[in-house]
Symmetry: C2
Subunit: 302 residues, 2 copies
């Protein structure tokens, strides 16, 4: 089926406009976005005005001359714009390094969504036809076992403690106490916890932290699936632990308070079993993926 687009879409829309939109949405203002992008506030304003004009819809909710959030259409566009920018990132990054070939089995912790990382791996696989990657998604504890047993070549896992010397730190992320209704949950005597199943690195840390602080608690919901855990938190089953990027409608961060102790910093790291050339080249590839380069945790609008 040809389905030839012939001439593609609206040729006035540029990547820079999308990038500007995403940055505004992430930084919450034209000034901040301009600073981040290295251009003036005026340029940002105009860039967005044009994008809105070409898209024939408003993207930013303005009230009294201030940006107070995204419109419905803006919220629809944001993830797609991110995806487009990210896939270009990945393509460029893959294209710039030599082609990979070989077979690799890669473990991926499913503690949290790692959409960006998965996209990077996917485009790497697509553009390196000689590469066969078998991805196994499981909890950190299980992956570590498989790695030791030789069932995996490498794994990307979560941790809160010290890493082994050969491990490669990919990313750090602050994790927060979250709940659907912080006030109500905190009023309960026993703290109801919504956590991942056994083998989750964060789970142990959370329980230990609570024990040390002398907070009585019980598990009200346990699942190995990220979807389920978030769903349970949103449904009000109890208190969970998530990084900022995993917040969604119906889940709020619990502000600092006397009862809940401070959580340690989360770490995402890579561990390899052997260092054959293919493995180490793929490891270098992953470690230099564009989605791992930034380290700012941005404050998103809405």
């Amino acid at each position: 089926m040809s389905m030839d687009a012939g001439l593609f879409s609206d040729r006035r829309i540029t990547l820079e406009q999308l990038r500007t939109f995403v940055t505004v949405a992430e930084s919450g203002g034209f000034n901040a976005a301009g600073l981040k992008l290295g251009r003036s506030q005026s340029a940002v304003t105009q860039s967005l005005q044009k994008l809105e004009e070409y898209l024939e819809c408003l993207l930013l909710e303005r009230r009294q001359g201030h940006i107070i959030g995204l419109t419905h259409d803006g919220r629809r566009l944001l993830p797609e714009a991110r995806k487009i920018l990210l896939s270009l990132d990945n393509v460029v990054s893959v294209l710039r390094r030599p082609e990979l070939s070989g077979h690799i089995s890669l473990g991926l912790s499913n503690n949290f969504n790692a959409v960006e990382l998965q996209m990077a791996i996917a485009s790497c696989i697509e553009m390196n036809k000689g590469l066969r990657v078998e991805v196994i998604s499981s909890l950190t504890g299980h992956l570590a076992q498989m790695l030791e047993q030789g069932a995996l070549d490498m794994a990307i896992m979560h941790s809160v403690g010290e890493l082994e010397p050969a491990d490669r730190l990919l990313k750090e992320e602050s994790i927060y106490w979250v709940a659907a209704n912080p006030e109500a949950v905190l009023r309960e005597d026993d703290l109801p916890l919504v956590l991942f199943g056994d083998g989750c690195a964060y789970r142990e840390a959370v329980v230990r932290t609570l024990d040390e602080a002398g907070v009585s608690h019980y598990l009200s919901y346990v699942s190995a699936s990220h979807e389920n855990v978030c769903g349970a938190i949103a449904a009000g089953f109890g208190v969970g632990v998530l990084p900022r990027s995993e917040l969604r409608e119906g889940i709020r961060i619990i502000p600092e308070n006397d009862r809940l102790p401070e959580l340690p910093l989360g770490r995402i790291f890579m561990r390899t079993r052997n260092n054959s050339p293919i493995i180490s080249r793929f490891r270098d590839f992953i470690c230099s993926a564009p989605c791992l380069s930034g380290s700012t945790e941005s404050r998103a609008v809405q």
Copy 2:
């Protein structure tokens, strides 16, 4: 996990450069591409030089001052560039029309790959959270049955004959006789055919056309899977029938000859069972998808 790209990739790379690259790859020359894009040969040349510079690799195979094809990197970039442009197309198209909501079961003929169409449907689903689409992939014959039985709301199917009055033509495509090794296959007395299983609209047409022309033939390979059929043709099982866009390495179009009759024009069309508001709005949506707008069948380089 934040995975914040912070500042995205190489900000010098533009959509226009990608578009130009794809157009050059499709039209096989800077002049032709310029004509297609509505700009001069010089602009196309410079645009591609920049893209190659920023990407730090050569995309076009030049010999004696002429483009003779894509480099390895060029072939790696092409499908990804297409995807990026296409997903922007889809996003813009979805954003410009009102949001859809409801439940729809959609049949999709698997005669041929319809990557672009599937991408359009996917981005429609992603951006219309109120929309639940159940996609069933099968051969045209089976889909038509399901439609009559009320198991499907709508279906996109293939045909070579007349359409029903209520059907909507989406796309026409020329189909060609193909084989791994045309010369060898044509030498055989009985023509070995590689076709889809029962229920494929093209299959019946092919057999009928051969019978009318008095060409003796037999089925050497039959499968309901597009992958398998292409694989069998490439492996030399016999003669198949494909549109230009489905050609791949190891499959060549058989030039016109005395033995093989001319094939009818293929049609891709949509049939709906009922015309509830949701269905008809979704139908209009699909019919106006960017990937269906063009009608040129381009001659690709390499």
